[in-house]
Symmetry: C2
Subunit: 404 residues, 2 copies
């Protein structure tokens, strides 16, 4: 029940990266649930990780191992979170198992897990799966890897781009899995971006932060944040561009600009495939004093169960929007300066229903499966945008039956 | 679909208060939707009101008119919120209309409205309804008033108590309507408490604050706060107790203690009748450094859509709880000191599934329609408790179809 989710198409290989998958029977039988990625010598990785206090064991290990990297191993079906010392040892063991196949140290491998929290990984089956996936690795493995990392996602999600920096061609492919337990400050659960760009590991870290800011940090499904969220950028250095070591350089800006559309598209697709999503909604808040207060309003609106059910129903219930705007914590907000548009239909002006408002026109917009909610706070020039979905019967169903 | 909601029974009259209702056709035909209360000379009122920036017009007027009061008028079906100057004039007109019947100034009347936001009140029908309700006023009108203020509530909610302060009998009756758009910092939408207690208007104000703190400010249905929330205490002074003018006096403490169970029961019944509620859940957080951090954890757990859907499904999904605890904003929380009980079943110890845990036993608890979630943070001695409900198909249905 995804909303206008494009087909993944054929993802393009990235020079220096090979990928393989396996059905390791981690939670379900006969389902791809394990993937490995191997990186050529000299590759670097940087990432951003969940802010949840319950950071899963693999998140802790992956963050520590960012820098010079040779491999990455990810499983679905089990998050290896809230698993204590056993979980940490298991995450490290994932690294050493793949490292043995690659011929590198465990510290050059990043582990990731996604799925049910609070259960231990079946390490025997993990070991078998890692071996199978490693042996199957090939440059064309992106599509099957995008499938292997899925949990409640309805379809695999990934994007490839090619662009030019100072006459040097850069290739990048990214994949992502959602699709609930998603909110700002690490929105998506797992996203991997591989590129042949030539960058230092410090730059890789900053690049991950910069790319996430206006993509994964701008979406929300249900306001819940996962224990396992991670977005990692791996750069193999196979491009001909001279190595970028300065985040203030023009080359860095170009690189970032070239990658931003890919990452933003991954983020948008995550919302399109949000759990139970029947609508894809862009919430744009303008006229604020600061971007932060605009974001607070946008998130409050996007998280509100009453707004989300009104969106699900296609009901242009202005009252729900003003309730949410009013509880977004702007102490000196003048509600009688606030305006609301649904796409191009003006619903409210100066905090009240617009004199020319015709409900039928707003209802037409909300009957679409994709539209924008545009809020004007009438107190400044800052703005912010987030993407979200509705709260449907299907969301309840998916999450009530998740473990059954 | 309320959860173990007791029948309202017969509410007891309070000396000095008369109540009358009318079907004023405000939103629906042939449905009680307007009530008036009249208070004997010398009555005082104090209240607590929504923190939402979009305070409805009646909230603004009611707060200003607290103090010496002679009447109260409330309608359901239309919240008179986000209605600007017209709404303010309409709220004031509600007061003057009732004031004319009583023979008092408009400033001695409190107006309240609940229902759909963003529409103007039908003042002609309001005027007729106020007249009819005033003429029908009688001391026994509490039960029909509890019915007239309902919106999506499944049943009227009210409680009467009698107790003794220093040998003087005090009577009190309270009524409340929910049942969505409810969260702390003015939880319930509208609650009225009438008592014959003898108190000054300053004391009435503090009494409302004190009574709300551990009742209405400790419950949450969906995390949304209304534009119209109000809890008002009216005291007629008809009891024989000498007038209480000092909130530090022993008589004040006794009065507060006598009224607290009534208010707490009103709050609990609001959750039992929460929109779509199929479970009544007490979330108790212990072992925190401060009550505030315990409350933050309790609310984050109680608001989490993923926890709420797991509760709806009766699924003892420990991962959902630790996810929510982990995102409650305690920066230095050690997740591996956290424990979780479902009623008496120990689910997790030291942040991990308890070695003796048997999932079937936890599932038995969660199959009940009423149970407690007890979280131990392992870092102090503070605690806090909130009441909440689950997130069901019915919640989505009610809120998707609210205006149809």
């Amino acid at each position: 029940m995804a909303v206008n989710l494009p087909d993944i198409g054929t993802l393009l290989p990235v020079n220096g990266i090979e990928l393989g998958v396996a059905a390791a029977n981690i939670r379900y039988e006969d389902r791809l649930d394990l993937a490995v990625m191997t990186f050529t010598t000299g590759s670097v990785a940087g990432g951003v990780f969940t802010q949840n206090s319950y950071r899963a064991a693999p998140v802790i290990v992956a963050e520590a191992n960012c820098g010079s990297v040779r491999g990455l191993v990810v499983n679905s079906g089990n998050a290896n979170a809230a698993t204590g010392d056993v979980g940490l040892r298991d995450a490290e063991r994932m690294c050493s198992l793949l490292g043995e196949h690659i011929g590198c140290s465990a510290q050059e491998v990043l582990p990731f897990s996604t799925g049910v929290i609070g259960e231990y990984l079946p390490m025997d089956r993990m070991a078998d799966g890692i071996e199978i996936a490693f042996k199957a690795s090939r440059p064309e493995g992106w599509n099957s890897t995008a499938t292997a990392i899925m949990t409640t996602d309805t379809a695999p999600k990934g994007v490839s781009v090619e662009f030019d920096v100072d006459g040097h061609k850069i290739a990048a492919t990214g994949i992502v899995k959602g699709s609930g337990m998603i909110r700002p400050d690490m929105a998506t659960m797992l996203a991997f971006l591989g590129t042949d760009a030539t960058i230092s590991s410090d730059v890789a870290k900053q690049l991950a932060i910069d790319l996430a800011e206006h993509s994964f940090n701008r979406l929300t499904i249900d306001g819940d944040t996962s224990t396992n969220d991670a977005f990692v950028v791996v750069a193999t250095g196979k491009a001909t561009l001279p190595v970028v070591t300065d985040v203030n350089s023009r080359a860095y800006s170009k690189l970032r600009e070239g990658l931003q559309p890919l990452v933003q598209e991954l983020a948008i697709r995550t919302v399109r495939d949000g759990e139970g999503a029947s609508k894809f909604v862009t919430v744009l808040v303008e006229g604020g004093r600061t971007e932060r207060e605009c974001l607070n309003v946008a998130y409050t609106v996007a998280h509100s169960p009453l707004v989300k059910t009104a969106i699900f129903a296609g009901d242009p219930n202005w009252g729900r929007f003003c309730m949410a705007i009013g509880r977004a914590g702007i102490a000196d907000l003048d509600p009688y300066r606030v305006g609301l548009h649904l796409d191009e239909v003006c619903v409210a002006t100066d905090g009240k229903i617009d004199p020319g408002y015709v409900e039928a026109r707003a209802a037409e917009v909300m009957a679409l499966n994709e539209f924008s909610v545009r809020i004007h706070l009438g107190r400044g020039t800052a703005s912010a945008k987030v993407w979200t979905s509705d709260l449907s019967y299907e969301y309840v169903k998916i999450n009530a039956e998740y473990r059954t």
